[in-house]
Amino acid sequence: MSPLRSANAPIAQGPILDLAQVEVRFPSARGTFAVVDRVDLSVAHGEVLGLVGESGCGKSMLARSIMGLVPPPGVTTGGTMLFNGVDMVGLSKDERRRLRGDRIAVVPQEPMTSLNPTLRIGDQLTEVLRAHRPTMSSDERRARALVVMEQVGIQFAEQRLSQYPHELSGGIRQRVMIAMALICGGVELLIADEPTTALDVTIQAQILELFMQLQSEQKMAVILITHDLAVIAQTAHRVAVMYAGNIVELAPVLDLFDVPRHPYTRGLLESMPRRGISASKTHLATISGSVPDPSNPPAGCRFFDRCQFAVKGTCDAENPALEQITEDRWVRCFRWRELPEFVLADAGAGS
């Protein structure tokens, strides 16, 4: 097991988050179309769930839907979203707002632009407490900010409070964003939307390490959205693979990497850079084509056009259902039983 991954196995009790048939729809000239299509997904207490897929497959929109922040004119339609047993779909706008930042937090993708350039760091940190702990005095807020900044490894916290975002490096800004997510102290579910994509590789490792340390200290559940499978391999307990608004595969992380069942997952793994590729002069594999237009999805399997195993007549007739194939694995493919064994090119030279 990777050194980064939390040693805490997910705590076995009811899931912290249980999504059933969640749909996010946008209006178009001809009715509406779904960018997140009837997603079923649950996250256990203390679990790190990786959510992967290429750009435009609905990962971020699913995250926004969980936060209650689907950008208009999009709407979350139908389905249930149980957070600790309470259906968030039925909550009022203000009740949703009170969950955000307090019990469900998010770490954004772009630390460089996610802080208001005209406000001091301290004001932006304490603003979260102002929203959720209105009875705290400003001294208490400040003290709490200092504690959290130390937790996330920001040195000279006292001085940072009075600095502006442009005075901080990207890594520190991302630490500030993490501090903002944790400052209320009771986060149960953290959604990290590509938290390291905008950072240098060396800083990436530090931030991931920090994430995992905080995750195991605070026993919070994390949904880690990324298209970097290496990050997933190091950190997640389970992985959900999304394609064109559907979850196409859901599996424990090691199983997924060992025996990917969905052709799309296989394609993602094959297109991951790895050792030995250049030595053997094989080109890095790619998945040809692109994600289908969500406003005009194909009738059959959404991956049909790009799938090397697709069979006409079966795969393009209807979209396969997400099928449970073992106790903890699901796959959305008609032909998963018939696929040839998965062997990574030059896997022997890799790790």
Binding site: R100, V106, T113, L115, T118, G153, Q155, S169, R175, T202
Partner: protein, 298 residues
């Protein structure tokens, strides 16, 4: 505890200097802003202080001393009723600046409120948007005349007309910057930690429109003074005998050959005031929008 990557990155507290000092050091590099500001400050001080330190009487008539040219006794000469042009000019400055300030303040209040509403709510946007479009169809000054003709000439009605005419521009500016910034990453990030809509608007979004709105209001100020002078000239301003620059020019038309100073003095005052405000507006724009500046003088 995590070790941080930036142990070397400690700076002496960078905000020892106050915000005002920073503002001043930025302003020093804008000669237009400084020049315009100095002239305007002088005008305001003169309008406020001269009546305090000198005996000013813009209304007293002295038929034995009418149409006298400027001299040590009559600094700017006298008009056709023997009234002091200087005294009338000072009180006229009072009026012009009062109208300008009142109209600008009211325009800001109404414009920012309505602009915020239309940036925030679709329904408000379509209603307010159509009204401001309708107002912007008319040539400004013609509409001002129509309004004054309808509600009667008075100082307050002049202010009202200027506000009605100028407010659509401010609404548009505020609305545009709200729409630009409401989906900015930092606004979304603040929303994602539970900051409420009202605070998002007031703390994160609205301040972004401050720069363009300031510039616009400065030009609005200049425009208000011109409109007031124009309306007074046409007899739609505050009624005589109270002096305003506009009605002074209007009354002086008959004497342009024999006593030109009666007209020249208020004319120069209007020019100086409007010019200084326009300089301030240009300077502010350069200061607040560096992109635009580099296009104008690279």
């Amino acid at each position: 505890m995590m070790k941080s990557a930036d142990a070397t990155e400690v700076l002496p507290s960078p905000h020892a200097r106050s915000g005002l000092w920073t503002l001043w050091s930025m302003m020093r590099s804008e000669p237009m802003l400084l020049g315009g500001g100095a002239v305007l400050l002088l005008l305001v001080l003169a309008a406020v202080l001269i009546p305090v330190v000198m005996a000013i009487d813009p209304l007293s008539i002295n038929v034995t001393q009418k149409l006298l040219p400027p001299s040590p006794e009559h600094w700017l000469g006298t008009d056709e009723f023997g009234r002091e042009v200087f005294d009338r000019l000072v009180i006229g400055a009072h009026l012009s600046l009062r109208v300008g300030f009142a109209a600008t303040a009211l325009t800001a209040l109404v414009g920012i409120t309505l602009g915020a509403l239309s940036g925030q709510y679709r329904l408000a946007d379509s209603i307010i948007g159509r009204f401001s479009d309708a107002l912007m169809i008319f040539p400004g000054f013609v509409l001002a005349i129509m309004i004054l003709a309808a509600i009667g000439p008075s100082e307050f009605n002049v202010v009202l007309a200027v506000v009605v005419l100028y407010v659509p521009r401010v609404i548009r500016t505020v609305r545009a910057s709200i729409i630009e910034y409401r989906s900015a990453d930092f606004v979304q990030a603040a929303r994602a930690v539970g900051v409420g809509d009202m605070r998002l608007l007031v703390v994160h979004i609205l301040p972004k429109s401050f720069g363009p709105v300031m510039v616009q209001l400065t030009f609005g100020f200049a425009w208000a003074i011109l409109v007031e002078a124009g309306l007074s000239f046409l007899g739609l301003g505050p009624p005589p005998p109270d002096p305003s620059w506009g009605n002074m020019i209007s009354a002086a038309r008959e004497f342009i050959r024999t006593a030109p100073w009666i007209m020249i003095a208020p004319g120069l005052m209007i020019t100086a005031t409007v010019l200084s405000l326009n300089l301030i507006g240009d300077g502010l724009r350069d200061l607040l929008d560096p992109r635009l500046q580099s296009q104008v003088n690279p």
